[in-house]
Amino acid sequence: MSHYIFILVGAVLVNNVVLVKILGLCPFMGVSKKLETAYGMGAATTFVLTLATGSSYIIDHFLLIPFGLEYLRTLSFIVTIAAIVQMTEMVIAKTSPTLQQTLGIYLPLITTNCAVLGVPLINIAYGYNFVESLLFGAGSAIGFSGVLILFAAVRERIEGADVPRHFRGSAIAMITAGLMALAFMGFAGLDKYQ
């Protein structure tokens, strides 16, 4: 039991996919201007990531390994992720067109989100079984969403602040992200005794 808790905590905090593993920075920087879009993007990515982890594991274990096609991993993972993202896009377009418009190009770009491809590959590298993979995937997604929302909140406050002219926009956002990454280093060692 504690093993699973450590995996979850590790995925959310210690090995946070954005701030420690530095994956998935594109939506992190691009969608975090407003809190509402951050919620939407976090939810979408969580959905995609969890589904992708599950389906990648199944494809890997029941299709690729039995037939000795490990070299097709990247290819098949990307294809599955692309299909899942397309499905998510259609669902969002139907249920919340506003969200689709505000997310803009970043919704289909979840396909190329290195976190979404990276997490299944990390699962395989660590040799996790199905439950562990799912936990790791879900944990990473929660970590991604959490950090995205935190960052969006900070950026909204910075919007109204007196930022020096040459730092406005992306520059102060990068500095803030760096400071957050430094802060998250404080979690190092939390899952040491797994």
């Binding site: 919007e159 109204g160 602040a161 007196d162």
Partner: protein, 575 residues
């Protein structure tokens, strides 16, 4: 009788500076050189002027008729001649003009025939109408027409009638002196309100830094055998705010969204308003004067009974301002403003004039960044978060300011008073509020424009289809007629040679018609051009003597008829 008192959140204790002006009795101000009475002196519609230049008016005569339910009449403060009804500077922080009636006093101060009405025969609606016609408005600062607050909400029983005699702002002592000297009339006025609203209890709230006033009011209440309670509330700014006083005296907290406190069974009136109401109901006198505190950088700070419309600089002279006075503040130091033009007149809501000098009011230190100390939130009597409102107002994010309830702010100034970074918080909130109102106006105008545009497009479509239908019908009728004619012609002559000629004739006929049309249009344009030339003013410099004399004759006739102003230019006169 012990009244349980409640506390409201926040508040500050600035130095009161009231002993400057509360030692001397009220003095009747002498007649000024002229009176500039603005017509729009209360919240609501602007009264219409009913006098013209040159007319003689008597003291208390109606000069502005109330326009609509939420409006109050305006009266001449003294007898004299109306000089003009024109735009003059208004006592407003913008320094903009508004329509005023300028009266030159004739020194006789002659009252119009007036007398107390027969209250016994008047219904509540009649009394409301009477108060409106006598210009009684709230004298506490907002100037809300009093008759609008004298009807209880149908479903809610009126529990408390509160008379606001707190006068919490520093420097101001007009209500204090009013209570000391004219307590009897005030109590009679309160009785009038009591009879209109029929509350379960009447509470008069006075701050405890006014012991003489409290004693005078208690004596008057006892003398008239009324059951009003005179309660001393702890001195704390802004205990005199309506919602704060309600909280202190009754414990009720009025939510920001509630338009009228009557929906909670409470109504608040200023003590000066009660006095004015009694002058109207008991003596038939309209509201033409009020007590004004003259204080600040002056030799003799005291209270005067000033006529509405007295220019401020003339009035302040009565208190002998020191030579280094460099401005006049209307109102108190917390909520008042520096008047841009010192010849602006006193209006019904002017309670105090403070002579401003660098010595008394040192210039403010420059604004420094917000350190988020939270002192402003601790001081706000409405439990708002001024630092958040400041942050978003400064970033011009007005949606967020409304999320933080900026319209609940009463601009009391407690937050600016305590800010260690000297940030003028109230200025930011005022800016945000006026921007939000401007945007709402623009949005309304844009929506209207859109509706009209869409209707215009719909109308044009409709006209097009109607025209097409008409044309189709006409063409069908024409075709039918032609067919009938052709049939008749074929039946009669049977000569096919005429047909081509018949076809050509319409073409030739069209050209002369078009040419005639063109000529007509050109003639019309030439006529219009000539008309425009004639309408523009041409030669006014080299006038022949006959022309000049004719113009002088016309001017004289116009002046006699009273439709021209007295000629101030000499352009029309020959050299």
């Amino acid at each position: 009788m012990l009244n349980k008192l409640f506390k409201f959140y926040g508040g500050v204790k600035p130095p009161s500076n009231k002993t400057l002006s509360n030692a001397l009795p009220i003095v009747q101000a002498p007649l000024p050189s002229r009176l500039v009475v603005p017509l729009h002196q209360s919240i609501g519609g602007m009264p219409r002027p009913v006098v013209q230049a040159g007319e003689r008016v008597l003291k208390g005569q109606l000069i502005g008729q109330a326009d609509g339910w939420l409006s109050a009449a305006v009266h001449a403060p003294t007898s004299g001649t109306v000089l003009e009804v024109a735009m003059h500077v208004r006592p407003h922080v913008s320094g903009l003009d508004s329509l005023c009636v300028v009266i030159e006093p004739d020194g006789q101060d002659e009252w119009i025939a007036h007398g107390p009405p027969d209250i016994a025969t008047m219904s509540p609606a009649d009394i409301c109408n009477y108060l409106q016609q006598h210009g009684v408005v709230g004298l506490g600062g907002a100037g809300f027409p009093t008759h609008g607050k004298l009807t209880a909400t149908p479903a809610v029983p009126m529990a408390e009638l509160i008379i606001n005699a707190a006068e919490c702002e520093p420097y101001i002592t007009c209500d204090d002196l009013l209570m000391r000297e004219r307590a009897d009339d005030i109590v009679r006025g309160i009785a009038v309100f009591r009879d209109m609203l029929k509350p379960q209890s009447v509470i008069i709230g006075v701050e405890d830094n006014k012991p003489e006033a409290i004693a005078a009011m208690r004596a008057a209440v006892d003398a008239q055998n009324e059951a009003f309670s005179v309660v001393a509330v702890p001195t704390l700014y802004p205990a005199g705010g309506a919602k704060q006083l309600i909280r202190v005296l009754t414990g009720k907290e009025v939510p920001g969204s509630m338009r009228s406190t009557a929906d909670m069974g409470v109504q608040v009136f200023n003590v000066g308003t009660a006095y004015a109401a009694w002058r109207a109901i008991g003596h038939g006198e309209p509201l033409i004067s009020r007590i004004v505190t003259l204080t600040g950088n002056v030799r003799q700070a005291h209270n005067v009974e000033a006529l509405i419309g007295t220019p401020m600089n003339e009035l302040l002279q009565l208190a002998q301002p020191h030579p280094d006075t460099d401005g006049i503040i209307m109102g108190g130091p917390m909520m008042g403003f520096l008047v841009p033009n010192e010849s602006a007149p006193i209006v019904k809501t002017s309670n105090c004039l403070i002579a401003h000098s660098e010595r008394l009011f040192p210039p403010k230190a420059p604004e420094m960044p917000c350190i988020r100390c939270g002192a402003c939130a601790r001081a706000c009597p409405h439990e708002l978060q001024p630092f958040e409102l400041y942050w978003h107002a400064r970033a011009k994010d007005f949606g967020k300011t409304q999320q933080y309830n900026i319209f609940d702010c009463i601009e009391c100034g407690c937050c600016s008073f305590v800010c260690p970074s000297r940030i003028p918080l109230v200025q930011y909130f005022r800016f945000a509020k006026s921007e939000i109102w401007a945007r709402e106006r623009e949005k309304k105008a844009a929506d209207e424009a859109k509706t009209r545009f869409e209707f215009k497009q719909f109308r044009e479509e409709r006209e097009k289809t109607e025209k097409a239908e008409k044309l189709a019908k006409a063409a069908a009728a024409q075709a039918a007629k032609k067919a009938a004619e052709a049939a008749a012609a074929a039946a009669a002559a049977g000569d096919a040679g005429d047909a081509p000629v018949a076809d050509k004739a319409p073409d030739v006929a069209v050209d002369p018609a078009q040419a005639a049309k063109k000529a007509a249009i050109e003639a019309a344009m030439a006529r219009a051009k000539a008309q425009r030339e004639a309408a523009q003013v041409k030669n006014t410099d080299d006038l022949t003597p006959e022309q000049a004399k004719a113009m002088a004759d016309i001017e004289a006739r116009r002046q006699q008829a009273g439709i021209a102003e007295p000629a101030t230019t000499t352009e029309t006169k020959p050299e």
